[in-house]
């Protein structure tokens, strides 16, 4: 009997931070203008110490102004989507739940597009609209997925898939019939892309990320019990309604946050929590922070590949996560040994 300890959570998260750091350094290094690892580390150290004069102008522009913001955006999106995925899986008691599969990402994208059409330059509105789109979609999917008053796993997934395709069709309709709008292309909203810098200060987006992931984390002991059975959790003293509300709102915030800056990147929320479960177990007290870091690693790596494999052309990062995600997921499911 070796119950999970805070020390184990900390150690695993520290190790994942190490992997993320390596991924970030590699991502900073590769591209049309190669920069050596040593230069990258020196640039980062100098930037951290605010010694701007010691950073060569080339490095400042390429490393700090072009590549680093994109990586930070990738970390934000990856952490948001995978935590939202882990949250939805517990909330809906469905291991295949994911913001993309359930149509929540499409709902957020539609919200974002509508806000861009209505008020293209209002700061923060796109995030709020994406959140509204996400929260409305998950509510719709939740009610469509019920059969005889009970949440049915298969019906829920079908409801999600149908909702996703319907919303994608609406997005395509809007994108093709409304020319000249300040929107970032169909691929961005349907497949996800990190090439457009965020219009909102990253600080605020990270602040929201920490709050939302933190609120889901506070419910992680409860989620462990809810996964065993809602009724049983209630007998064991879990306030199931409160927990579900927290996770529902926080996971919708995270989806809205990710989609508003990167479009609908798929499979991150499905793939990452499952890989983490296979590596470290199903305990949500570890799963939530480890998924956040794992999602960040996945999106940083996927985006690095997206902008380098067919350079100078760029692939949407969502295509990368789907290409990489689906086979790895099947492989892991098949070799799953206990």
């Amino acid at each position: 009997m070796r119950p999970l300890t805070p020390r184990r959570v900390f150690t695993i998260c520290l190790a994942l931070c190490g992997v993320l750091f390596v991924a970030v350094v590699i991502s900073l290094r590769v591209g049309a203008y190669p920069v050596s690892i040593r230069d990258i580390v020196m640039t980062l150290v100098n930037a951290t110490l605010r010694r701007w004069s010691e950073i060569p102008p080339d490095f400042q522009s390429i490393v700090l102004n072009i590549r680093l913001p994109r990586i930070l955006l990738g970390i934000l999106v990856g952490a948001s989507l995978s935590t939202a995925g882990a949250g939805f899986q517990a909330l809906l008691r469905n291991p295949l739940a994911d913001p993309y599969v359930l149509g929540v990402s499409s709902g957020a994208a539609l919200g974002a597009i509508l806000s861009l059409i209505a008020a293209p330059h209002a700061p923060g509105l796109i995030q709020a609209a994406a959140f509204a789109g996400a929260i409305a979609t998950i509510a719709a999917v939740y009610f469509l997925g019920r059969r005889g008053g009970q949440l049915d796993s298969g019906t829920l997934l079908l409801a999600g898939i149908i909702t996703a395709s319907f919303l994608s069709a609406v997005i395509m309709f809007l994108m093709t019939t409304l020319p000249g709008r300040d929107v970032r292309g169909m691929a961005f909203w349907l497949m996800g892309d990190l090439s457009s810098p965020s219009t909102v200060d990253l600080k605020w987006l990270y602040f929201l990320l920490v709050i939302a992931v933190g609120s889901i984390y506070t419910t992680s002991s409860d989620l462990n019990l809810i996964l065993t059975g809602e009724q049983e959790a209630r007998h064991l003293g879990v306030n199931v309604h409160r927990v579900k509300l927290v996770v529902y709102v926080a996971a919708s915030v995270l989806t809205g946050l990710a989609v508003s800056v990167s479009g609908a990147i798929g499979y991150v929320g499905l793939l990452v929590p499952h890989v983490i479960r296979m590596l470290f177990g199903t305990d949500y007290r570890l799963l939530i922070p480890a998924s956040a870091l794992g999602g960040a690693i996945l999106v940083v790596v996927a985006d690095t590949l997206a902008r380098t494999v067919v350079a100078p052309t760029e692939l949407p990062v969502g295509a990368m996560t789907a290409i990489a995600g689906a086979p790895v997921f099947i492989y892991l499911m098949r070799r799953r040994v206990r």
């Binding site: 300890t5 899986q89 002991s221 019990l225 065993t228 209630r234 007998h235 879990v238 306030n239």
Partner: protein, 287 residues
């Protein structure tokens, strides 16, 4: 956590000062309930006023055919619904007024296990019984492990601790679910048809274990079951329900009357009195 059964921490129920040995631990006074699909529609099912008591070390069986209100009564006892009228008290406090976590420290409900979404080891499952103690976001302490280990030992499932839940047999699983309930250190154990998926050997073993827990560890055990003979053999008191009415409460000898049981279960039943004063129900032959 290598020798859990030898630890000093007892998994005996925590007895509140008010709960003297002869005071009823659970007291049901004219409790009734009506279930309706919506607030305005007519009730689909009504449980008429039921009254009975159970003390510590007592084992009570709730009997009745399907749709007689057994599960509804259990739900009221577990505090998951508030009675429409009357009251249900545990150690002098109304169950529905208890805070959800306090309730989980006093009352444990053993139901058929729902399907696990992700695989879980036996010890992880039993440790869940420690949830009502401590903060909401919590990591298990050494004491929690000791209590969980003791609970497993108490149900004779010590050897199962590292097995996966979905690889257990029906009887093993039932014991592990019971161990999780014991890890809650409740004073009242409620069991909803615990013998449903067990063979006869498993049924006898489970009821014998429950009897022992009641006798030796002062639990009050309430069990919903269809097993008339096992209930007569092991329980001190019987609550007989039929079509939402509490027909009779008493010792097995008082409740098991041929005509009464025959009417309630709509079957040709015969009741024999055995030497120890425990009745036995047999099916009357058609020829």
């Amino acid at each position: 956590m290598s020798t859990p059964a030898q630890g000093g921490a007892s998994i005996a129920p925590q007895v509140t000062p008010t709960a003297a040995a002869n005071e009823p631990r659970i007291k049901v006074e004219q409790a009734s309930y009506a279930y309706a699909a919506t607030d305005r529609s007519a009730p689909k099912f009504t449980l008429g006023p039921a009254s009975f008591e159970a003390r510590q070390r007592e084992m009570v069986a709730i009997l009745g055919p399907n749709a007689s209100g057994k599960s509804t009564l259990l739900m009221l006892l577990a505090g998951l619904a508030r009675p429409l009228s009357g009251r249900i008290e545990i150690d002098g406090t109304e169950v529905s007024k208890l805070d959800i976590r306090t309730r989980a420290q006093r009352i444990a409900l053993v139901q058929q296990e729902s399907e696990l979404l992700f695989p879980l080891r036996v010890w992880e499952y039993v440790l869940q019984g420690r949830y009502p103690y401590g903060r909401r976001l919590r990591f298990e302490s050494d004491e929690d492990c000791l209590l969980a280990g003791n609970a497993l030992a108490q149900v004779g499932a010590d050897a199962l601790r590292d097995r996966w839940m979905d690889q257990l047999s029906g009887g093993e699983k039932q014991r592990v679910i019971l161990a999780r309930a014991l890890a809650q250190r409740p004073s009242l154990l409620l069991l909803d048809e615990p013998t449903q998926h067990l063979d006869i050997g498993g049924k006898v073993e489970l009821l014998r274990r429950l009897r022992k827990l009641a006798d030796e560890n002062r639990y009050t055990v309430l069990v919903v079951t269809h097993e008339l003979n096992l209930a007569a053999e092991f329980c001190d008191r019987i609550v007989l329900l039929h079509k939402g009415k509490c027909l009779r409460v008493g010792t097995p000898a008082e409740v098991y009357e041929r005509d009464l049981l025959g009417d309630v279960f709509d079957a040709p039943l015969e009741v024999e009195m055995r030497p120890g004063g425990r009745p036995r129900v047999i099916l009357r032959g058609s020829h």
